[in-house]
Amino acid sequence: MSSAADPLPRKTLPLPASLRRLMADRMGAAGAFIVLFLLAIAIIAPWIAPYDPLKINVKAKLLAPSWEHWAGTDHLGRDTLSRLILGTRNALWIALTATGLAGVIGMILGLIAGYGPRWIDGILVLLLDSLSSLPMIMFALAVITVLGPGTQTLMLVIVLVSIPGYARLIRAQVLTLKNADFIQAERVMGASLPRILLVHLLPNVVGPLVIVLSMDVPVVIMLEAGLSYLNLGVKPPEPSWGNMLYDGYTSLRQQPSLVIAAGIPLILATLGFTFLGEGLRDALDPKLQKRLP
């Protein structure tokens, strides 16, 4: 935090050093590895899926894992591994896009609320407080009931429920920095508003947001999986870890491997993003330099 006695703005550490610190942290490195692995799978999913993940073959339903179908087949005879791979793409696409979008919107609103006139701040805070007072699951179910389930609805829900947290974080950061010496100096020197916001304030407040965003990704993945489990998220026949878990649950007695197969990537993604988030927090925050090499 900057203060009158501390004329220099606090900046996050340069990327290479932060990266070195992240990789030096075993949990952070493991998280980064898992996330990169999942990202790679998501990107090349269509090329590595051994079968068409949507192809129904009822004659081959609920097959146990074998050399032909490494993770078996589901209740409609679709290859589970192929669906998991495509499910990875869907899960990450929804989680990263929605979280990223919410982060950008939250950041803009936070900057406006924190640096703008007090009446704008008042209105925005009221709106954000109202939005964040809604219970997330109930709000999600209400929106889905009105708009119908689907990927877009799911993303809209995630964006809407996530914005307040990010906006409030940025607003708080901006409020602490807006009267800092370096900002005052810029103002006296006649710097334009966009320059102050984008060149001076933004780099100083974006670090905590990145950390929170990375920590929120698993929450969003779980939310998507939860709603898809209830068949209120990703619409069939598109694979999602959540609706695959549901399919596995309904076939639990005949083929328990389905639930296990669908649960593993969910656990991996949750752990990966959580470790990465914590590693990033340690690496980007100069106050937590305990592991500096």
Partner: protein, 522 residues
């Protein structure tokens, strides 16, 4: 039903039971443990809570079951596996005195709870006449009832407007056939909801924990055959898989199970269990809305019928436990149609019809409920129609939104919905199933917007036709009309699957609802 002496076994069920006990103790407190300890409690699982126990406004399964336990009907049906001939129940005497008159005399000693006195012929008259011609969903049961003549306190005659023998099967054993207390119902304002104003059945309503449990206690004043259990508890569990696990944990004695679980349970039957597998009267079909802008061309509807892969649905969703329906009359029944008009899949012809109609690249919305059967069926339909070049977007919807789709009181959406997966609990009399596709049901339950004057004419004739061969001809023609309109794909009659303790003898009625008053031990 619970054995009096609990015994520990190291099998799956015992383990689940112990786990269930622990979880129940942790979550609900020991006094509320799910299983009974006295051996005289019958515990049944139902899939939803009740909504109305007034025959006038009742909706679902449990509504009817509660009325069966706490009120009476003139006659009742036997277990669905033992025939469909009605058996006198509250009626000590019951006789068709002419093709349009049915005389009855009530048993002596039937009396209402509270101070409402005996069950009288006047109560029967009130119960039936308030439904006939009303806006109740069950009014159709009494369409042919002209009036009820009361001849003395316990006797009366049901006068029909025309000869209609199926009346005794359609109207009397269930739903609107439950007799209510005239004085108590009038005192309650003419209708009631979740509380009986007066009861007269083998059981009396005791307690209700919303969305969790309903308890009934034996009626000490019941004069007819005594039920086998002192207490009946209904546990509300919506999910079939969860219900099966709970049954294994000995949380209840009887539950329906999902098709997906049946094979597993059959292969490894839990100890002390018995399975029921029987054809049910619940029929499933695909609605194709004739009014929808994209489906007004008959060639497109025909293409959908031809591209539909019925075998894949039966195998993929129903594990081959049922066969393709040929209409809405139960497969194998006397009146069932021999075959569908379009019973052979022909993707090439479907493609040709679409091309002829200029509908290549057609995209349609298919609505279904969010249960696994519906979603799996929808996905197979999606895959099979895609082979003909029709893109299906599946729209899973929750119960409330689903039932509003084709409801004209909810707006004009009923005109534009395209495809909907539907299933209804049917009756044993064909007209009970055919009634929903009459023209006056458009915007109510006829979501295909199937509007056929010939169908309506046949329906009216079939109601009063006594000759079975002629009735069959009429019913089959009606189903031909339905299919030829392009508004329907008949999927199947769903199998009835249930599991219960081997020491229990359940009675299941033709509509698939259990009759707890006739469950026996051993």
């Amino acid at each position: 039903m619970k054995a009096a002496t609990p015994r520990w076994n190291t099998d799956r069920r015992s383990l689940l039971k112990a786990g269930g006990a622990f979880i129940a103790a942790m979550t609900t407190g020991l006094p509320n443990l799910a299983w009974a300890q006295d051996g005289k409690t019958l515990r049944l699982r139902v899939s939803a809570d009740f909504q109305s126990i007034d025959p006038y406004s009742m909706v679902g399964e449990i509504d009817d079951i509660l009325q069966r336990c706490c009120t009476v009907t003139l006659v009742r049906l036997p277990d669905m596996r033992e025939g469909t001939e009605v058996i006198p129940y509250a009626a000590a005497q019951y006789e068709w005195t002419s093709p349009t008159t049915l005389a009855f005399t009530l048993h002596e000693g039937l009396k209402w709870s509270g101070d409402h006195g005996p069950v009288t012929a006047e109560d029967v008259k009130f119960s039936f006449e308030r439904l006939a011609g009303s806006d109740s969903a069950w009014a159709y049961q009494f369409e042919k009832l002209d009036h009820v003549e009361v001849t003395d306190e316990r006797s009366g005659v049901l006068h029909l407007s025309e000869p209609f023998r199926p009346f005794e099967v359609i109207a009397l054993p269930y739903y609107g056939g439950h007799i209510v207390c005239k004085a108590a119902t009038e005192a309650a304002g003419g209708q009631f909801g979740t509380e009986f104003p007066a009861q007269c059945g083998p059981y009396l309503f005791d307690t209700w924990e919303q969305n969790a449990k309903i308890t009934l206690k034996r009626n000490p004043d019941w004069p007819l055959e005594a039920p086998a259990f002192d207490t009946v508890e209904f546990y509300i569990v919506s999910d079939d898989q969860a219900a099966l696990l709970a049954w294994e944990a000995d949380a209840f004695d009887f539950t329906r199970i999902a098709v997906a679980d049946f094979a597993g349970v059959t292969a490894n039957p839990p100890a002390n269990s018995a399975l029921i597998e029987a054809p049910s009267t619940r029929y499933a079909w695909l609605t194709i809305n004739l009014q929808a802008p994209q489906l007004q061309d008959e060639r497109i509807r025909r293409a959908i019928q031809l591209a539909y892969d019925g075998e894949a649905v039966l195998e993929g969703v129903y594990n081959g436990l049922t066969s393709r329906a040929t209409g809405v009359i139960q497969t194998g029944a006397n009146y069932a149609r021999a075959k569908n008009i379009y019973d052979q899949r022909d993707v090439e012809k479907a493609q040709a019809l679409l091309a002829e109609a200029g509908a290549e690249g057609l995209t349609l919305q298919l609505y279904c409920l969010t249960d696994q059967n519906s979603l799996s069926t929808a996905q197979i339909i999606q895959a099979s129609l895609s082979e003909a070049g029709i893109t299906i977007e599946i729209q899973p919807v929750e119960d409330a939104a689903y039932w509003a789709l084709g409801d004209k009181t909810a707006g004009d959406q009923y005109k534009s919905i395209e495809l909907v997966l539907m299933n209804f609990a049917g009756g044993i009399e064909p007209t009970e199933n055919l009634v929903w596709f009459r023209p006056d049901q458009i915007g109510v339950y006829n979501w295909s917007s199937f509007d056929s004057p010939e169908y309506e004419e046949l329906y009216q004739k079939a109601l009063t036709e006594a000759d079975s061969a002629k009735r069959k001809e009429m019913f089959n023609k009606m189903e031909d009309l339905m299919e030829a309109s392009g508004g329907f794909i008949f999927i199947c009659f769903e199998p009835y699957l249930a599991i219960h303790d081997s020491g229990l003898k359940p009675v299941i009625l033709a509509d698939g609802h259990p009759d707890p008053t006739r469950f026996t031990a051993g």
